[in-house]
Symmetry: C2
Subunit: 348 residues, 2 copies
Amino acid sequence: MQRRNVLSKIAVLVLIGVCAALTFTTTGLAQAPAQAQDPLPSWNEGPAKQAIVEFVGATTDKASPKFVPPEERIATFDQDGTLWVEHPMYTQVMFCLDRVPAVVKAKPELAKVEPFKTVLSGNREAMGELSMDDLEMILMATLSGMSVDEFYAEAKKWIETARDPRWKRPFTELTYLPMLEVLKYLRANGYKTYIVTGGGQDFVRAYSERVYGIPPEQVVGTAGGTKYGYGKDGKPFLTKEPKLVLNDNFAGKPEGIHLMIGRRPHAAFGNSTGDREMLEYTGAGAGARLVMLVLHDDAKREYAYGPAEGLPDTKVGTFTQGLYDEAKKDGWFVISMKQDWKKIFAWE
Amino acid sequence: MQRRNVLSKIAVLVLIGVCAALTFTTTGLAQAPAQAQDPLPSWNEGPAKQAIVEFVGATTDKASPKFVPPEERIATFDQDGTLWVEHPMYTQVMFCLDRVPAVVKAKPELAKVEPFKTVLSGNREAMGELSMDDLEMILMATLSGMSVDEFYAEAKKWIETARDPRWKRPFTELTYLPMLEVLKYLRANGYKTYIVTGGGQDFVRAYSERVYGIPPEQVVGTAGGTKYGYGKDGKPFLTKEPKLVLNDNFAGKPEGIHLMIGRRPHAAFGNSTGDREMLEYTGAGAGARLVMLVLHDDAKREYAYGPAEGLPDTKVGTFTQGLYDEAKKDGWFVISMKQDWKKIFAWE
């Protein structure tokens, strides 16, 4: 039962991805003279953009009652659906599916066992029908058992070569340009930016610095344990264990923030029910707080899946009507991708 | 059994404390002109000081084969016995003992139950005889059950008023001046400095920024879980739970470093068997690595308790002969408090 519970929790982590950062630095921001520069050129004028600019202005102005001392400037961002595309499937799940052949090579007996057999067949339709239990088995098998260094190397290699099925681009190019601008704008104003993701902490760390300018130590994610040991050469190393230390979804997000950061953020960005508690926790702090939700309402340029009627708030990865209502009630800002974002991707 | 195991692990965390930082900024460093300034004025010339200066010089020199890119400059420091005094008792244990009356006030039925009865008696000798099991019960009772904000407030208040029994000074004045200089020197050269302590993460966070210049998010310690919930006013908050998430001693140190930082330090400082694995892990990385052990060999100015013959390497808080031998074999530097430190405390 215990093990089953851990497995199902690990499955929830299935929220990861990658993005388009290298392009970011070369686009859009280097045209106007420094003084007149708009820090958020990919945003249309409107309440969302205005809220961000006003928050940054007030919290960095020593004369303002909303001033926040530099050391307390913490901003947290969900990743999947907030910083990059999360459809048709979390990027990390694709990574895990792609890792199955290597796992089977190391353990050939798995080749004849489901769900590995189906994944090896390459039949995309059959893979789409895999149950949550199947996915859990795949995640456990593909995210543990190797050294931390080996895992980072594998994840880095994959993220550089894999392609998104719709746009045929590296996942790292499916980051939202307006959100990359927000990250950069906050950092330029003394904020430490963190990713707080339901996805696997080590997976996101493999590319977060390159893609988002966020170093590994500022990635809080669903985390498994590691085990310290020695190789044949006597050298110590850490092995990734199939043991859940932090389930960074729902209440796990503020709990993870406390574990890893130790203070309450002044700004938080999310896009789904899995972010609700992080947003509540951030908004409930004293002084200036900025709480924002990205609403996916642009089927043409990206995807449209909210606010979704009739879905339970307990389902991760959805922007439910209940979440929308809470945002309105608590004074959170809802970012409409359709209306607020001039551009979605840097390469558009 | 499970619960017992968790309790005994929590007991191991009994490694915390505080120090003397405010004095630091006003002492010693503001005399010579900037160029000629010695970054480590409280150190005597010798192999330890030389190793630190050479390491910093080489790893920040782009022309050196030992150059380390700024984002990878991570340095980790044990706290008790490495950054401040750990005798006659870990400071955190004193904090927990002092908290017992408040805990009993909230739960009066504990007043007649051991070990609380003994602690309430104020009989220092009897308290000194408390068993490890007794201490575990006290730690569990005093470090959980309140909100995170309440805990921080309590710990901050205590650390400002409590006094060390030998020098009758705030514990925060019992930090080692030479180590504060090392922290500052590393940061001035682009290193992120972390505390990696067997002590309680939240306890150390309550004063680390003021005392060491190390923000809460750079404190890795033995950590309990928290639980997200809502108050009567509907506002969310986190409650500290009697559940161990990270036992940050021995192998738990490199495991905690991976969980919280995600990359291997280039420099690590410790003083006891509980730091061994952190030092090994740091030393085994590629490129330039600096591994140092503080040896307590100055009974007059502080305490002398190493290298200790006949003690098992599994006992936390001791500098055993086995640790000394490993240091010599692996090229770690042993810092002799007696020989290497001109001054130990800022107020001397």
